[in-house]
Point group: C2
Chain length 277, copies 2
């Protein structure tokens, strides 16, 4: 038995993101681990993290993770590439539970998929500038070539709901053309929003470029971790999904919910509490 008298296994998986995009990870987790309960917290009062400094992203991540611990999270999933790139080490050092980010699972999947050894990575400015994917990819295979590019317009396009639009196609191609010219054969979608553009990207790049979805690979890593740590829920009747945001939901929640076919239910709004960690 653990804190608050709840057996660790029965406690929820805590998932956080700077906003709504991390629901792509929740969607993958629900499909893979339907009996696990999930508490999702989106920091919509301070979204996006992708253009902000490492120090600020670390502080925000610690504050949001503390709120997940207050919800009895048995493990914390950083469903945000920017926070994974800039704050994972800080979170691992500080939190009393295991932490899973999206970078390492994505890098592993990319190394497994690439044939030519040339991997492309797209993400926010902060994720790309951090070099976190390059480091993870090179740690797994020192011979890999990496072409990385920040694509700061893709998140706003997704949040505008322009998932299938000629303008979105043009912007995707403007961002990706140099990567194709460079000869990548695998592309890491290094932002949890980007799976919502998977159809458009697949249509534009064709089947010669393998896509690595950080959401899906993160969910697989969480499944493995729960097995290793013997933290799987004993529940067999389906887990509960709770969604909380630090600012009331806007139109993008509807976009995400529909695109992901996710049953979100009532969304709670929580003020950020300064981290006591």
């Amino acid at each position: 038995m653990a804190e608050n008298g709840i057996a660790p296994k029965a406690r929820p998986i805590g998932v956080f993101d700077s906003g709504i995009g991390g629901l792509t990870v929740v969607s993958a987790l629900r499909a893979l681990l339907p009996n696990e309960s999930i508490f999702y917290l989106g920091d919509t009062a301070r979204v996006p993290y992708g253009g902000k400094s490492a120090a600020t992203v670390q502080r925000y991540s610690l504050e949001i993770a503390a709120m997940l611990l207050a919800e009895n999270a048995k493990t914390v999933v950083v469903a945000c590439n920017t926070a994974s790139a800039l704050a994972l080490a800080t979170l691992e050092k500080t939190l009393p539970v295991t932490v899973t980010g999206v970078i390492l699972p994505g890098a592993r999947a990319a190394i497994a998929k690439t044939r030519t050894g040339h991997v492309g990575v797209i993400g926010t400015r902060a994720t790309i500038n951090s070099g976190a994917y390059e480091r993870a990819l090179r740690a797994l295979n020192p011979d890999v070539s990496v072409t990385a590019r920040a694509c700061p317009l893709l998140v706003p396009l997704i949040e505008e709901g322009w998932l299938e639009s000629p303008i979105t196609d043009e912007i995707i191609m403007q961002y990706l053309s140099p990567l194709l010219t460079d000869g990548i054969d695998t592309l890491v979608l290094g932002c949890t929003h980007y799976p919502l553009l998977r159809n458009a990207i697949t249509r534009l790049l064709g089947d010669k470029i393998a896509l690595v979805d950080s959401a899906q690979n993160c969910a697989l890593a969480v499944r493995d971790l729960l097995l290793q740590e013997d933290l799987n829920t004993p529940e067999t009747n389906g887990g509960r999904l709770q969604v909380a945001l630090t600012d009331p939901p806007d139109a993008f929640l509807r976009v995400a919910r529909e695109a992901l076919q996710l049953e979100v239910g009532e969304v709670q709004v929580r003020g950020v509490i300064a981290s006591a960690l």
Copy 2:
């Protein structure tokens, strides 16, 4: 003499914005009031405000305004349409100095310019959803017709530096076509970023649509206010511009500085202090 022994007239004008966009107001103020010192504070740690709730924008605005008062601001300029739309009344009620927003000056200029009485307004989601421009325009002229549209992609496009790009042109036309069809003859650029797209918008709309630049009109309102309140600086050798941000500056500061030809000097980074107001 006033607090801290500094004569009120010699104190700086405090200007704030959610980020860097408010530098368009600073640029207009520098041209109009070259002897006034300005302390500019951009809340880049929490930018943008444009998709956030009224309660959150009000809280952030009070916190940032308190930081300007700590810098001895003799008056506060809200160089952000979203904060002006959602937090001006709260700021006016709370602050011990005068407050100037961008909405009323912009609305006044639009009413003066329109011939057909049909005014268009573009801005962030929060600004447009607030209805603040409609209210201000109708209070000035109950017969005015208003067509308002949120354009959430324009700020990210500007911050990406795509000020002159066929993609930007397409997005502008996608947003503005319904306003043109509706028959507007005057368009309020209801976001302090938008003057950076003035060239592109003018090129696309031609000279039949009058543009109202909220930055320029806000600066004129500040000049009038200082005259009325006898708060003009006695300085005659040029005022000082200090720029502080709540998160370290990124690439967009360079874009803005170049586009506005603004001499910004060294940028300070300040942590947000919770408002004691």
